[in-house]
Symmetry: C2
Subunit: 266 residues, 2 copies
Amino acid sequence: MMPIPKTGKDVRIACRQGSLVSNTAGLAPGFVQANLVIVPANFAYDFLLFCQRNPKPCPILEVLDKGSPFTSNIADNADIRSDIPKYRVYESDKIIDEPTSINKYWRDDLVSFLLGCSFTFDRALREYGVPVRHEEEGRNVPMYRTNIPCKGAGVFQGPLVVSMRPMTPNFALQATNITGRFPRAHGTPIHMGEPKLIGITDIQKPDYGENVSIHPGEIPVFWACGVTPQAVAVASKIPFLITHSPGHMFVSDWADHQLEGEEKIR
Amino acid sequence: MMPIPKTGKDVRIACRQGSLVSNTAGLAPGFVQANLVIVPANFAYDFLLFCQRNPKPCPILEVLDKGSPFTSNIADNADIRSDIPKYRVYESDKIIDEPTSINKYWRDDLVSFLLGCSFTFDRALREYGVPVRHEEEGRNVPMYRTNIPCKGAGVFQGPLVVSMRPMTPNFALQATNITGRFPRAHGTPIHMGEPKLIGITDIQKPDYGENVSIHPGEIPVFWACGVTPQAVAVASKIPFLITHSPGHMFVSDWADHQLEGEEKIR
C-alpha cells in the first residue's frame, strides 16, 4: 500500500505517478488545497474579472501564464496537467471525460486558475472545537444555489453557491470570527439562520454534496463556496473547459495559515 | 467661491461641471479616494493579472466594463471621463495631454481600473495620533523605486514603488497594526529601518513626491504604493494610456472603513 502523503508535494508526485486517483480530503493535513478552473485564453479576461468582482466565492491563489502548465506561487513547479488526482473535461456544458491526467487535452491557449477552498477553514474550525458536521458524518459538505446574483463579467453570470455547516448560535459567532481570518478561503459567512431569505427552499435537499443532520438548537450557517466559479463556468457553455473533479483538489506547498490576512509581498 | 465638497459625489459633480480642477487632498474627508488607470482592451487582461499578482501595490476597487465610462461599485454611476479633476494622457510613454476631461479621448475599447490609495490609511493613522510627516509639512508623500521586482504579467513588468513615512519604532509598530486593517489600501508596511536593503540609496532624494524631515529617533517606514501600477503601465510603452494626474484622484461613495477587512458580498 502507498504511504500516506504528508505534504502537498507528496500528493502531487503520487498523482503524477498515477498512484493517487482518490479524493484529497484529509491528505497532507495543514497544506492549502485549491480548486482548479482552466479556460481558453479568449475567455480568461472575463473569468479573471468575474473572480475579481466576486472575491468571497472566488479567492484567486494563482493564475498561470497562458499556455504554461507550471505553477510558481502556491507550489514550486507543479504540473497542472498531471498533479491532480482527477479532472473533468467539458465541451460546452457537457462532461466529455473524467481523466486522471489532462496531457492529451493540453493546448497552448489554456489559462489555469487556482482558487481557495473551504478545507482550509474547516481545519481551523475543528482546531477551535467548532463542529464540522459533514466531517463528523463522513459526508461531502452540503451546497446550495442561492438567489444572490454574483456580479457578472462578460459571459460569466450566475448565482452564488454556498456551503452549509449547522451549529449553535454561539458556535456560529465563534466560526464567523475564525473564518474572518481567512479572506482568501471565503472569509466570514454570508448568511445564517433563515435559508429562505437567500432562496433555499428545502435545506434537506442540497444542490451539490450531501445532506447533513441539523441538531436541535442549531442554525444553518452559510459560506460562499468555491463551486460558484465552476458552476458559472459550466453554465456559460464556453466551448472548452477543464476543472478538477469534485473533492479531487490541487494540494499546494502553502500552509493553511498563509491564507490568513494579506498576501506576503515576497 | 465654490463651497467645499463634503462628499465624494460633491467632488465628482464639481469636477464634471469644471469648477474643481485642483488636487483632491483633504476633500470629502472620510471618503475613499482611488487611483485611475485606463488601458485599451487588448492590454486589459495583462493589466488585471498584474494587479491580481501584486495586491499590495495594486488593490483593485473596481474594473469598469469594456467601453463603459460608468462606475457601479465604489460610486453610483460616476462618469470616469469627467468626474476626476485632472488626467494624464500618454502615447507610448510620452504625456501628450493633461486635460480636465477625457471625453474627446474616449474609445469603445477602453477599460478603466480604480485602485486603492494610501489617503485612506493616512487618515486612520492621524486619528490614532500616529504622525503623518508629509501632511504636517504640507508636502506630497515621498516615494521611491525599490529593488523588489513585482510579479510580471505579459507586457507589465517592473519594480515595486513605495511611499515612506518617518516615525519612531513605537509608532511604526502601531502603524503596522492600523494599516494591516486595510488590505485594500496597501495593508501593512513592506519594510522599515534600512532603505539600502530595498535598493534605496539616498532617502533624501525620493523618485516621486517630495522629501520630508526625519527626526532623531525616527526610522523610515515603507508601504507599497499605488504609483507602482501607473509606473509599470507607463514603462510598458503601450500605445495609449490614461491615468489621473498625480494627487488628482477619483473620490468614491465609499467610506474609508469599507476598505477594512474583506469586501461585503452585496
